[in-house]
């Protein structure tokens, strides 16, 4: 599904060069649930951003669905992101000015989907995460757990092949975190590939593969 070959990433700040990742070889198969773990600052989120094409590697190559990502030109990469990935962020990143239903519709706006169909798909996604009754609410009227469910609904509404979650339970208490984890496992069982960055060992024990990162490198 996703193949990273000898991928590296360097950040340049003023005159300081920081090597965030080096020599990353990683293959994520279809239907896998992969947890990326490691200490803070080791490069987990950078790796997730590279997988999701939110950032450009400094070296190496990335293949998505068997095809090499050769161009990071705006239009090309935007289309690829929209069709392939759904993102879940630790701090939810919902748009507070929009209602829950409008937030969930967001990925469909950038496809040629008719308004009526868009609304129906968003409603179905919200019902799937158990928030069918909160469609007209605004994000700040919901609890943290509910907001993360909205974020998950937004991530799955376009039926992406891969869900990328960056510490999705990091801002939630253990009960709500557990519920979110259940939801991600259910989505994985239904055929969605999930890649998740987490610090939570308990959550990681529930998935079928753990990838550990240390000092910008994968460790066994």
């Amino acid at each position: 599904m996703i193949q990273l070959n000898n991928v590296s990433k360097t950040y340049q700040t003023d005159k300081v060069e920081t090597l965030a990742l080096r020599g990353i070889d990683l293959h994520i198969r279809e239907d896998e649930f992969v947890c990326i773990m490691g200490p803070s600052g080791c490069g987990k989120s950078t790796l997730l951003n590279l997988i999701g094409l939110l950032d450009q590697p400094g070296g190496g190559s990335i293949h998505v669905g068997g095809a090499a990502v050769t161009s990071y030109r705006d239009k090309h990469v935007a289309r690829l992101r929209n069709a392939t990935f759904g993102f879940i962020f630790q701090s939810f990143h919902l748009i507070n000015d929009l209602r829950v239903i409008d937030n969930v519709e967001l990925p469909l706006l950038y496809r040629s989907v008719a308004a009526g169909e868009r609304r129906a798909m968003a409603r179905a996604a919200l019902e799937k995460v158990g928030l069918g009754a909160r469609m007209e609410h605004y994000p700040n009227q919901l609890s943290g757990g509910q907001q993360q469910r909205v974020a998950i609904a937004r991530a799955i509404v376009g039926r992406p092949r891969v869900l990328l979650a960056d510490e999705p339970t990091g801002n939630l208490d253990s009960k709500m975190g557990g519920e979110i984890m259940d939801l991600l496992l259910q989505l994985n069982r239904e055929g969605t590939t999930v890649v998740m960055v987490t610090h939570d060992e308990r959550a990681a024990q529930r998935v079928n593969r753990i990838v550990r990162v240390f000092d910008g490198q994968l460790v066994a």
Binding site: I95, D97, L106
Partner: protein
Amino acid sequence: MFRHYLLTACKVFLRRKLFTAINLLCIVLTLVILLVVTALLENAFYPTGVEGKSPRMLQVMMIEAHTADGNSTSRTPLGYKAIAQYLKPLKNAERVSAVTIPETVSVYQEGRVSELMMRHADADYWKILAFTVLAGRLPTPDDDAQGRPVAVLNAASAARLFPGIATGAVVGRTVSVGGQPLQIIGVVDNALQLNAYADIWAPISSLPSSNYRSQMTGMFTALLLAHSPADLPRLKREVEQVAATVQLDDPRQWPIVRLWADSKLDLFARMLLQRDGSDGGGATLLAGVAALMLLFMLLPALNLVNLNMGRILERSAEIGVRKAFGATSLQLVGQLVLENVLLCLAGGALGLLCAKGVLLWLEGSGLIPYLHVELDLAVFGYGLLITLVFGLMSGVIPAWKMSRLDPVHALKGVA
């Protein structure tokens, strides 16, 4: 998509009330000033109403004389003799009129003294300008020839001199202008335009003294009506050629004489810019006004760019999310510019309303006598154009800058 952008824009404007208010105030103030100035300029220079024949009209206002060594120059208004002898016979003119520059006169009426602006004009004046006659008639060549002591009032002066009397009933009454009795033969509508502005008019031949007939310089302006607008350059050249033959009363002292036939805009520019030569400088003046207007617009636009940059920076996480879910830079620019254009259009609508209010106030206040300005479709069009330029100028730069952000940086709020 458009509905979504619209919804987002409305929510953002309502959430950032202070920003929205400052933005609107900035746009409204600028637009009001620009629209009011445009409307007044259009009223002064656009050929409508009483000066509807402006496109084929020129005026000669000053006679310019130079000493032989070129060290001294004299500029004075024309005398009647200069017009009668040199300008009336112009071949390229359909009509040439002599009319005095408005002067303040005291009118005695039923024990009251009123100060009015008066012109003395020949019969051609009434043929060149298209006054709206409310009652009675306009002076004729026969009135000129006979030197009849008659006068025409405008509506405001008729109401002022004869309060409570219907306009029609004013005709036939007599007023005393500086001790000279003049019979009112007509009442015309009020007019503000350059050549039409006055409260009371009388034939030149009714002037108490006939000295004016022998004066080369004095208090007159000549209005020249060409057969068609295409004849204006020929008419201008003919005036310049005729000027070479003009002899003033003391030709030894002032051997070089020049006359310039100008359009209204050129005449205004010539006086303002102190121009010599056949080009009065109307085009230069217009270019200067346009440049000033642009500069005037540039300052609030720069301010808006700054404000917008701050507003959009606050939304960098939203921009990151949109990019993560498939928005292209172009789509984001479209969204952010649309928000700006919407705000500017709202400001434009408010600005138009306020400009209308200011013009109504100006009309009612009497600061500019006989002002009657309409915010017509052309002015509305200028307003809309100015507003759109504003929206684009202040929206494109910040929108483009923000749309180029990497999604990772945008999500972290690092712009």
